[in-house]
Symmetry: C2
């Protein structure tokens, strides 16, 4: 472990990933590629338009995703992971893997309580 707490940049990564919907948005774009606003919304049941817009704006601001507007009627806006954004994939993968283990861990703990 060579991380100096004083110089810790973990917060920076957390700042990008945190937000109830950001990981799922990123995972969606990584998996499905370029997607329209409405496609993203459909794939995230429960999210409101306001929240989706907000999260997308924040990710765009950090250069994690690209936003392309087609000046036409009806409007068409496409979102995709930027090259830079792809560098987050290892983190998402590591978190997913750990999350799987954690699910098992919690199950074991529950079973112990029952007995």
């Amino acid at each position: 472990m060579k991380i100096e707490p004083e110089l810790c940049k973990v917060e920076d990564a957390l700042g990008i990933l945190v937000g109830k919907w950001k990981p799922i948005i990123l995972l969606n774009l990584l998996k499905e590629g370029t997607q329209r606003f409405s496609e993203l919304k459909r794939s995230m049941p429960g999210i409101t338009q306001k929240m989706l817009t907000k999260q997308l704006r924040e990710l765009e601001k950090e250069d994690i995703i690209d936003r392309v507007v087609y000046p036409q009627v009806p409007p068409k806006v496409e979102y995709s992971i930027s090259e830079y954004g792809k560098s987050l994939e290892p983190i998402l993968a590591a978190m997913h893997e750990w999350g799987m283990k954690h699910t098992l861990h919690k199950r074991k703990k529950m079973e112990q309580k029952i007995q």
Copy 2:
């Protein structure tokens, strides 16, 4: 990328790591080993007693850290990373590494704006 967004467990890992102070607490315990409440507090200027207690309780509940109370006066309580908690280290390391890159990325972006 084999992560199915529908089965996504990234949130679980995020749930553990999120909180203004959790990463720095974990980093501290990983680096310094067992520490007393007051030592932890000293190494995190700005944190309040209430917040430190709260974060520690949450981490303890998820079995990420161990809490040992010595029944003596004045009280002594020691915190340490659990075996299970150590499995989070790769994630913290990955986030730290990414955070370092991100710091550079932001600097470049600023320089471009200035010119």
